[in-house]
């Protein structure tokens, strides 16, 4: 998800989107010890001299990364991703959402929202906590957190307005978010900003995506903002962090590559059983087939361009992309952004998969090249020859705790 959001952000930025740093924050990392941002870095095909760092651990790390980038030099791609888990029947299960957001922070005429200032309040209190690797958060009595967050939020908001020399009435869009929904809702009504200027938290359609949510709401506001509008972002997590932006003239010509609204509308239902199985909370009977081997680190290291970047090589005779590249392949041909069409397909009920059955398609890419590849985000009944697909970076399986990332094809929403 983090890669997907980062890719959309860079696409939206077009030629201006060339970060010289990648920061990734999540509460549910694929790895500890090993950096997760390097996976996104490789899949985005950023230059080797672009540093990729994780901001790990807490919810607050994500907004911290954003603020730090805003205060720093250069162009930084700030990515946040979260999978909100909670035990069946609990509030977090109902209110949580999985998502990722990415914000490209930098200078210059392409900037669509100018950073006017930021402020923070920090306080130590145990309101929501989770053991490392745990599948659920635990919560103190709800009223306790609310009494902590309300004054923290008010102070941070007042401080940021002072820094930006603004009054609450001048805030056109107010985003207040945090996993303490009750505090966020109450706070939004106490800051002197008109109710119609408070941004909907999208809890109904998406749920609260935790670390990703501040960036997600900011993105959705920017997608429809007009020049001059003032946007305030207030995030409640072990304190309060406030930032204020003003939309620039450049926003008038800003073309988001895929809006939050479009993604929300393109959703499809998932059965509760499948949801629990994906969460590893409902063990399923495995197929009586061998489990996959862990990917070889050295072999993966030799095929970074193909495995992570989905880059083929030109056939020396025809120029068509070889996928995967053969020893004779010449110039690299990036295929990750090339759409294709399903020629034929099959549904495999036998093969090992974390989400059976495997739906597999023969995909012919626009402009040449063919690859038999697994399909995703599709129901068996919706696959047929002629369906248009795009490539998406996914985890195929995990073996020996190594996550095997590669690409799958996904029907293009709205194209079929």
């Amino acid at each position: 998800m983090g890669f997907e959001a980062a890719r959309l952000a860079l696409r939206s930025a077009g030629d201006d989107g060339c970060p010289n740093a990648l920061w990734f924050s999540t509460v549910t990392p694929a790895y500890v010890d090993k950096t997760n941002a390097t996976t996104i870095h490789e899949a985005l095909r950023l230059d080797d001299d672009v540093p990729a760092f994780d901001f790990g651990g807490a919810q607050r790390s994500a907004v911290g990364a954003l603020r730090t980038a805003l205060n720093g030099p250069g162009t930084t791609l700030v990515v946040a991703s979260d999978i909100r888990t909670g035990l069946p029947g609990g509030g977090d299960e109902v209110s949580g959402g999985d998502g990722a957001s990415a914000v490209l922070v930098g200078d210059g005429p392409a900037v669509i929202a100018e950073y006017l200032g930021g402020a923070s309040q920090s306080e130590e209190f145990v309101d929501r906590w989770r053991a490392p690797g745990g599948e659920r958060s635990k919560l103190w009595e709800e009223r306790f957190g609310e009494t902590r967050y309300l004054p923290l939020g008010e102070r941070a908001f007042q401080a940021v307005l002072k820094e930006a020399d603004l009054s609450p009435e001048q805030v056109d869009q107010l985003i207040v978010t945090g996993l303490h929904t009750r505090a966020a809702t109450a706070l939004a009504g106490r800051l002197g900003v008109a109710g119609e200027n408070v941004v909907d938290n999208r809890a109904g359609a998406i749920g609260n995506t935790g670390a990703a949510h501040p960036g997600l709401l900011l993105t959705s506001v920017l997608e429809s903002a007009t020049p001059g509008k003032v946007i305030a972002l207030l995030v409640l997590a072990d304190g309060a962090d406030a930032m204020v932006f003003r939309a620039t003239e450049a926003i008038a010509s800003f073309q988001p590559s895929r809006t939050v609204d479009a993604q929300t509308e393109g959703g499809a239902p998932v059965t509760y059983g499948k949801f629990l199985a994906w969460r590893k909370m409902l063990p399923l009977e495995p197929p009586r087939r061998p489990e996959p081997l862990r990917p070889s680190s050295s072999a993966a290291g030799r095929s970074l361009d193909w495995k992570y970047g989905f880059v083929g090589r030109a056939d020396p005779d025809t120029g068509a992309p070889q996928m995967p590249p053969l020893p004779s392949g010449s110039d690299p041909i990036p295929m990750a952004d090339v759409p294709g069409t399903i020629v034929t397909y099959t549904i495999d009920h036998l093969v090992y998969s974390e989400s059976p059955p495997v739906i597999f398609g023969i995909v012919d890419f626009d402009g040449g090249g063919r690859l038999p590849i697994e399909l995703t985000d599709v129901a068996p009944d919706d696959v047929k020859p002629g369906v248009r697909v795009e490539m998406t970076f996914r985890k195929l399986f995990t073996s020996d705790d190594i996550h095997n990332y590669f690409w799958k094809a996904r029907p293009i929403r709205g194209a079929n």
């Binding site: 009586r288 087939r289 996959p292 549904i347 495999d348 036998l350 023969i362 590669f406």
Partner: protein, 395 residues
């Protein structure tokens, strides 16, 4: 430069085959010893009388795999592997060794102990890799043939389904008349169609069984053949083609043919001097790993015109007593597919049929004297294909 073959220079003087099945109480060693003895005993040879051995097996490693259970003394044993054509590859190597003059008498042995893995289907083993290797069962890859075939030739999917069911039912009919088969009962077309789906439109009965088994053949120079038997089979052709995988990347590949099969068949027919396979062959043993595979093979091997295999199948052309009986022993469908043994199991049926030793119930209904085996390994777009032609008459 050229593929010349060894037509009539090498003869098969004995072939043996174990029963195929779920041999829970028998090891690969047991199956090897039985297959070898079944082959040596009829012509009164001992294991030390063989000058060199070729062992075909996909799962086990070196020549010691055979030398140890047979307790061979000072004999060369080469282990060969070539996907599902492994057993045929052993026969090819042994035959060429004899043709070269290096050895007087050689044995090809094939074995696979599949049922010890504890999984359904054939065990798939891959070397360590980058994790981008396609993860799909063979059933799923071959299931893409049926809809592609129907579309290309304007045949309804129902008619293709009917032909596939006929193939399964025909092979089970033949297997029901074969004591060595894994499945020895008939299966109706209705049963085939009602079976649970495995991949695409393929059900359980569209797929080959999974069995353990072993088989072996002894080859000598043609001029020596009558020292061992009055009814040798002469090797007319051996052809092997390893595809380069281009079908997986080529947008022109349409999943209705296997170019590697076409190439190996043409090479084999040229070696053997065959111009009309359907009219000249008494029978064919082909690699029916899945029912659509057999349908397409009928066209790729030149048994009928493009786009007509489904019709010819339904007309009974390839049934026992038909124009050209295919898989008279029951095929992979009835025998399962112990990878190292299957190619030599096909040779065994040719041995029985051409020598008039097959039971009356499996009578071919013709008196021609040439037989074909076809053995493939891999997937549509990426396979190895082997074709042999055997005959009773030299020259």
């Amino acid at each position: 430069m050229g593929s010349h073959g060894i037509r009539d220079r090498v003869a098969i003087v004995s072939v043996g085959c174990t029963p195929f099945g779920e041999h829970w109480n028998r090891s690969a060693d047991d199956l090897l010893v039985e297959a070898v003895n079944e082959t040596l005993n009829p012509i009164g040879l001992g294991k030390q009388d063989i000058d060199a051995y070729w062992l075909g097996t996909a799962q086990r490693s070196c020549g010691i795999t055979l030398a140890k259970p047979l307790e061979l003394e000072g004999k060369p044993v080469s282990r060969v592997e070539n996907f599902c054509a492994t057993g045929s590859e052993a026969l090819r190597q042994a035959s060429y060794a004899v043709a070269s003059g290096a050895y007087d008498i050689a044995m090809a042995v094939g074995v696979e102990k599949v049922k010890d893995a504890g999984y359904q289907g054939l065990p798939a083993t891959q070397p360590p890799n980058d994790g981008t290797v396609r993860n799909l069962t063979a059933a799923a890859m071959y299931s893409m043939i049926a809809p592609a075939y129907a579309k290309k030739y304007g045949v309804s999917e129902g008619e293709v389904r009917d032909a596939l069911s006929h193939i399964a039912s025909k092979n089970h009919y033949n297997g029901a008349r074969n004591p060595r088969a894994q499945f020895k009962r008939e299966v109706s077309k209705e049963q085939v169609e009602k079976a649970p789906k495995m991949a695409g439109t393929l059900g359980v009965f569209d797929c080959a069984g999974v069995a353990d088994g072993g088989a072996a053949a002894i080859v000598v120079r043609a001029e020596d053949a009558h020292k061992y038997t009055d009814k040798p089979l002469y090797i007319k052709a051996l052809s092997l083609v390893a595809g380069n995988g281009s079908g997986l990347q080529d947008p022109n590949y349409d999943y209705t043919t296997f170019p590697e099969v076409v190439d190996s068949a043409q090479d084999a027919y040229a070696q053997a001097g065959i111009t009309d396979p359907r009219g000249q062959l008494a029978m064919a043993e082909v690699h029916d790993c899945f029912t659509p595979t057999e349908m397409v093979l009928m066209e790729d091997l030149g048994f009928c015109d493009r786009g007509t295999a489904w019709k010819e199948v339904l007309a009974g052309t390839f049934d026992l007593g038909g124009d050209l009986p295919v898989n008279p022993d029951g095929g992979l469908k009835s025998f399962g597919h112990p990878v190292g043994a299957s190619g030599l199991r096909m040779t065994f049926e040719c041995w029985l049929q051409l020598r008039g030793e097959a039971p009356e119930q499996r009578s071919l209904g013709n008196d021609r004297n040439l037989a074909l085996t076809h053995n493939l390994g891999g997937y549509p777009g990426e396979m190895v294909s082997f074709v042999s032609i055997l005959g009773t008459d030299p020259g």
